[in-house]
Symmetry: C2
Subunit: 585 residues, 2 copies
Amino acid sequence: LDYQHVQVPFEITLWIMLASLAKIGFHLYNRLPSVVPESCLLIFVGLIMGGIIYGLNDKSPPVMDSDIFFLYLLPPIVLDAGYFMPSRPFFENIGTILLYAVVGTIWNVFGIGFSLYGICQVKAFHLQDVSLLHNLLFGSLIAAVDPVAVLAVFEEIHVNEKLHILVFGESLLNDAVTVVLYKLFRSFCEMPTITSVDVFAGVGKFFVVGLGGVLVGLTFGMTAAFTTRFTKDIRVIEPLFVFLYSYLSYLTAEMFHLSGIVAIIACAMGMKRYVEANISLKSHTTVKYFMKMWSSVSDTLIFIFLGVSTIGENHEWNWPYICFTVIFCLIWRALGVLVLTFFVNRFHVNTITSKDQFIIAYGGLRGAICFSLVFLLPDFHRKKLFIAATTVVILFTVFVQGMTIRPLVDLLAVKRKRESAPTVGEQIHIRFLDHLLAGIEDISGHWGQYYWKDKLEYFNSKYLQKILLREYDQPKSSIVLLYEKLERKHAIELAEAGQLGHAPSHPSLLHSGFLCSNNNRTVIMDKKLEDTLNPDVLENIQEILARNLYRIRRTGPAYNRHTLPGETEPMEHAKEILILRHKNL
Amino acid sequence: LDYQHVQVPFEITLWIMLASLAKIGFHLYNRLPSVVPESCLLIFVGLIMGGIIYGLNDKSPPVMDSDIFFLYLLPPIVLDAGYFMPSRPFFENIGTILLYAVVGTIWNVFGIGFSLYGICQVKAFHLQDVSLLHNLLFGSLIAAVDPVAVLAVFEEIHVNEKLHILVFGESLLNDAVTVVLYKLFRSFCEMPTITSVDVFAGVGKFFVVGLGGVLVGLTFGMTAAFTTRFTKDIRVIEPLFVFLYSYLSYLTAEMFHLSGIVAIIACAMGMKRYVEANISLKSHTTVKYFMKMWSSVSDTLIFIFLGVSTIGENHEWNWPYICFTVIFCLIWRALGVLVLTFFVNRFHVNTITSKDQFIIAYGGLRGAICFSLVFLLPDFHRKKLFIAATTVVILFTVFVQGMTIRPLVDLLAVKRKRESAPTVGEQIHIRFLDHLLAGIEDISGHWGQYYWKDKLEYFNSKYLQKILLREYDQPKSSIVLLYEKLERKHAIELAEAGQLGHAPSHPSLLHSGFLCSNNNRTVIMDKKLEDTLNPDVLENIQEILARNLYRIRRTGPAYNRHTLPGETEPMEHAKEILILRHKNL
């Protein structure tokens, strides 16, 4: 027996196997996951395993290594989150999300830090030796909402899209703030004196860390897209590039002390569209499947390790500090959400209701990131107290809030995600309104989100697509594609019912059909779609629509009485609008 | 900048990226890979990189770590090989393959070892200090044909299936022999005296190592199949189990000093059928794709590392020893193939032609396994000579043999792989003949391969399927499935040509059709198939046929004039045949 030789891969494989088997186990009994979130069950499994290890060895079980967490377990989850991020609601609410992520997190850090410092001044609690800086450092690591924990819980409760993206987007983007504040306070702790220059440098770092992350991510994302232009002859390694470049973006960002999470999200969101167009369908299935698989395993491992690491002797218990930490976490988050939403609602038509606000505040779950950060703290005499407080906050939020959020959502009758995907008709009308609004913004001279979206789309099709896509040819109109799909679907059904006529019965509608079928057809198709297509197919169609419908606006002037088709270039079109705008002004 | 922190994953990612980009680079110029095998190009890239590293640092570049090779790079390639092993030609030629792999390898080891010892006795060569045992040890590591190198070259030259499986099967199964002989001679080298008991123990180890590997592999394979019974609700982690269990089988076998390669092949071949039936189609695509991707990357990395490791100062040059090693490797392999094939041909109707024999002998490429084994040798004063000789043999076989084998195959007009897959008609007739032969073997009392195949199939459907498959229900007849597929295909074509009639034109042929359509239909389908279906679809159909046609023989007696359908059980059928056989005897 030569265990030494194979130990490392053997133990890693066994851990992953345990995680996967645990997942299977939960799903064998369907009732369990509908009451208790999977994350709670996994932590519970971890606690039991930690207890067993502790009982057998009589010493603390191994603690989750922060390096392993940040370098190997976190990236797959964030990559998955970024790649499957619904970009429309995300960019529609980007302002609100950034407000929550940046201002909200700073608010929480200082709120929690200062009020805990206040608690430390009470002599009866024996906490006078915890300085303000240490409290702020603790605040910086405990304040951030954890994307892994949020994802695990919110994926199961199916709240409406906007609410989901607000909480989840915040949990992703607050990483930049957390990184900066955590490192800032940590270096302050080790500095003899702090000058005001240091404080300003810290504020400047926010932008460097966040925007730097975006830049690194986009660079790698574009490179990935460019690389997949040349993989036509070796389809089999296509999926690899998606993973390699995203991971490199994360590592590079981490190397330069930028926000790795922000980088990998920017990379995934940036490359998705081009990579999807370049790689084969099977490669894409593999990418999607493997991403989901990987993140799901990482997720499982994180929660199990979290449970295992909880057991042991690295805690210092102090009732008041721990209890007040939990209370302050709840209070400051609730206050922050209230105040920030008040401002957000003043500038928006679609306001965030008070029910939504409650769920946003209540969904502020803490997780493995806090846990890893607290273990990364430099050694000082109260580190064990911080570890204990962090553990309690995580367990409290995951167990108590995680388990009660579903009943609360039911009780409050929070608006849920629509069960059915929007119909093609709705999709077409949404897109149509987008173009209309972009036009209105153009004319009125208001440069809002539709204006920028349109500009970005123009830049994309004018330059990026030509560089990054393999075949830059005008794709077929979405309506024609949709019609083809429907015809095929219909044919298969006929064949399956054995009613297929082998003789051609009427001349091809498809080939004589023109780009813009009339409304009538669309309605018929819409109806047919809902009846016959499964969600997967619908999703595909929606994707196609999302990509191609933008063209319509630009090709619009071609139908003008004064121009011949193909005569007006988009540039002229832009000029025309500029003249209109000048006149208005 | 904090490079230390991310160094390990960053460098691994960069190496993989380099390998993938090198692959893309070769395929951009289509002419290059058609002349030079990819493996040569990759070694060449490695040599250049090694040269650069050597030039910059002025010290030897890092040598490929044997642990990394055996634990991380080799398993994906072998798993891929085992999973996609064409089982019919493999089991049809298993006797010949085992003969080549076991007897042939032993022949080579002792042949090369003893003749090199002879060379060492020539005083002019200054090699008297290399003992017989050291020569045998060297022979044991240099004799084995390398699966990675063989696969890389033979995948590109497309020789006929039998020839391919003979060389490739040998290269996989000789691992057990290599492991035993290498470890045996290594321990002999360290022993003061060798008794005859040690020698006999060594012989006994062959069976333990080989059969033990098969046993470990099958155990894990069946467990994997059993596990995938329960993954219906979490499809996303299904592919994981295929990889985890195969890897565990490899590691477990290595841990017990059994043959890891044999174990992982047994695992993959054992589980494939059941896993495929249990997991979803998308999971299966992911498994196949990822396996190919992984093995392709491993393969690339191995050849690049091989090139990098060649550069450096760990070589001791001795012209006669190195030249004679290359010559003896060629001569003993050629002799071995000639002698063994002489015996094989006496007992087979389908003989191995002299052209085939030449290609088998010439295709005996050495690769990274030899290289890793020679670095694993215990330190002794002539180790560097062995390293040099091994490097030269590998480079000679990969470059000279690898590059000339394709022109030679053309020149000799060796029978190639058929370009088109066999038609469904052929498939049906092959299966039919199998059943006929199994019946003849039954009646004549000769327990040949058809008899055992039939027994195995019976055992499989009687017990294994019930335990390992999720839904044990009679699948539809393959003919009906095929017909459905064709109808669907036809319908899609009609739809795409716009000739789809929306009114039903004739009653369903499908639903009124019965299991055994008449010959006429089959011929029509066959014709249609060749015209319309692409290779992928054809492959699917062949798979379906392969699985289901066995049923026909067992349900055969149901058509007897004296029995009602479903009345005769397979058991009774077996009894009937037993009585017939007894009468004959």
